[in-house]
Symmetry: C2
């Protein structure tokens, strides 16, 4: 893991890094202590490690809760070159959208391929992050994501037992995602935009139902996917605080 | 309004009161200020103004958020005598339950009748509460409820514009309730117990969908209706704080 820049602002230290081909960013509190929860954030398809909503959530979590927060670019996203096959998928999505056709089938294929490639990169990144002194090998770990980031996040706990809680929203649901959800037993918080017709409520309910987690919560909020209400962002941070043991008096909820 | 007892414990003043035939209880912070939010709590059918979950929520809201909190007994509940017709409904519910039959149809009839009688009592109680010096005529008002308390609460905003936010969970949904919900435009928070087979998810989603509120949230939590998770109780208090203007920095959410 190679730190390529370090800046500091409003009590938050931001480090960009590379790890082999992967490019990422790490936000930590200036006054942080090793062992604080580490959140991994998976951006949506077409976005990158500095997606506006992701950064807003990161700064809130770090400044208000003292979490550490890391994001990496998916293959072909952000600072990483896109290969020929991925480029074809992107063009097919653009064409379908321009023609007023459903993009979900193409997005699902593309997302599945990306998520499978991203998954081992997240694990390697996590290995490296846990060796950093400001994080510490025993940091409890949560994962949050949107769309592409959700698909990766739902697959991750089954292959990596270090992931202890999962918060996400806004994903196209297919049978493979539902199958992956059946293997998830960690606490889950899932938010759905009630009035966003790009998502299918029946599929969303089926996904929520599929999680094997004893503790799971689904939040439906009025409106479309964006903007995510501030109180939902706050709820997500409180969800992690509760399950990763950072808020006195609520750890046993 | 006649205060029949006043006690104080852990910073919370508890007053029992009568108003004509109605019996109620009012919880206020010892260090409260007029103009703080006033929450009205509608108990479930068969329960009363001191239902355990209601009291737990009251003490949390008053102690943590400085709210004032009031509950009254429904007709034939708590300290109020039950009339002959209500007694017949109660017996019919007991018989259906003992026979393993669906109680929902009877509960809905009984609840509708009770809610219609309870509604004007809530308004008269609210008139009286707002004249009390520790509450103040300008206190912003929220309503929370369970089952019977929900039916009353969904009808209340259409006839009383003083109600500014509504939080509830656990109600049998019928067509009349859905019609009432279509008239509700204030912020709504609705929680459903995901794994409780006494409720029908499709009807619950239809109820949520029916609210005309621009700002509405539905929370599904794993498990049955009781116990309501502590974090949901906390979420409800934060919902009211947000909409009734009691938490700095979040009033404009």
């Amino acid at each position: 893991m190679h730190v390529t820049s370090t800046t500091s602002s409003n009590g938050v230290i931001e480090r960009t890094f590379t790890l082999d081909d992967v490019t990422g960013v790490l936000w930590s509190p200036e006054s942080g202590a090793p062992g604080s929860p580490l959140l991994l954030a998976g951006h949506s398809g077409g976005m990158h490690k500095r997606a506006p909503g992701l950064v807003a959530g990161a700064l809130h979590s770090v400044a208000t809760y003292g979490f550490t927060f890391a994001a990496i670019d998916a293959p072909g996203h952000g600072d990483r070159p896109r290969n020929v096959q991925d480029q074809k998928w992107v063009e097919a999505i653009h064409q379908a959208r321009a023609a007023g056709e459903q993009i979900a089938p193409i997005v699902i294929d593309y997302t599945t391929s990306l998520a499978e490639r991203w998954l081992p990169e997240w694990q390697t990144t996590l290995d490296a992050l846990l060796t950093r002194p400001e994080i510490g090998i025993d940091a409890p770990i949560g994962y949050e994501g949107v769309s592409l980031g959700v698909v990766t996040g739902v697959m991750l706990p089954a292959v990596d037992s270090r992931i202890a809680a999962l918060s996400f929203g806004g994903v196209f649901v297919d049978a493979a995602l539902i199958e992956a959800a059946r293997k998830v037993t960690i606490p889950v918080e899932y938010r759905i935009p009630w009035d966003d017709d790009q998502f299918d409520r029946t599929s969303e309910f089926a996904l929520f139902d599929a999680f094997a987690s004893k503790d799971k919560t689904m939040h439906a909020y009025s409106g479309r996917q964006y903007p995510v209400p501030h109180h939902e962002r706050e709820s997500s941070a409180r969800f992690f605080a509760r399950h990763l043991g950072r808020v006195a008096g609520t750890a046993s909820d």
